[in-house]
Symmetry: C2
Subunit: 204 residues, 2 copies
Amino acid sequence: MSLADSERLEARRQQVLDAAAECFHKSGFHGASMAQIAKTAGMSPGHIYNLFQNKEDVISMIVEREQVELLAKVDAMRRADDVVQAMIDQVACGVESQLSGSDAALHMEILAEAGRNPKLAAVVRDADGQGREKLESLLGAALAQKNLRREPEEVRARVEVLMALFDGLMVRSLRNPSVDREAVAPVVARLVAALIDGDVAEKG
Amino acid sequence: MSLADSERLEARRQQVLDAAAECFHKSGFHGASMAQIAKTAGMSPGHIYNLFQNKEDVISMIVEREQVELLAKVDAMRRADDVVQAMIDQVACGVESQLSGSDAALHMEILAEAGRNPKLAAVVRDADGQGREKLESLLGAALAQKNLRREPEEVRARVEVLMALFDGLMVRSLRNPSVDREAVAPVVARLVAALIDGDVAEKG
């Protein structure tokens, strides 16, 4: 396959993922059919099966695509001269993205389906494990720059809470769509700073 | 209706809600039928319609039942002599309950469906609004006991983040079922303390 062919193929796959995200959100995982996804992506029902085996395959790729985006962001923060500042700087953008709610219902759909579908559950947990590992390494680097040393278990627990905070903001966008994003962002930034800086952690 | 009749009716309704939670978790909101819920609750398909109009009605009552439990917990903390301590004391239990994951997939199902179903979305948002109001009043009382005064907007933002934290822990139970609950609880307790106490908030 030539490079151009391979790029065209990849573009078509991305097109299907976008269409699928829209269909899953609108009709639910079980309500959405491969035919409906193909139609939304503007391709024939037969053609979609050249790109993806089935709906599980599509949803798994949606999970993996997002994971790649997250990992790239973490890598960028990891490379910053001041890792702590890079993390704090990223908060406002992360809060905005989580509270925008654009993908929140889709994520709920994926997590609900993962509760019933062991194959999808494995994909979700594997992606999460990769994200956790990267974030633990990032937080470790941030602590080292502050000359703080923490047990790996403590670093792991803080990363869990960090991830809970951002997963939770996504849930908030559904429970309270009128949430005041500008007021919430600085509160989250202070908690992230508190999670990095040992002072608060030692306080309780 | 006599008191005994009314209690019996209420017990039957609770029985249906438990059965429905099980069915929604197993088959999804759309996959579960009223007949299946009735069967799981050990009653005839006809009888269930004496208690609930339809599935939306059932799921709305599940949301409201949980809300009642949350409001009762908040009221208990509000009545404590030391509101701040009561909140901190509640954290371990709250973390344990959110991370146990027993209802997490059901909540994801409800939130995914709320993304498609405006009537259910209204129920979810209304319940959330009640919880928010109670928690804002609780946090206000906690701040007052510490002689801290905060603008209502700041109190609202902190409650949002508090709710995000606990909603997020529920999501974590699905993404990482092996999360170390005992290591996470003290980190959450310190963040909750930080959310109440102005020190950390002022720091960033």
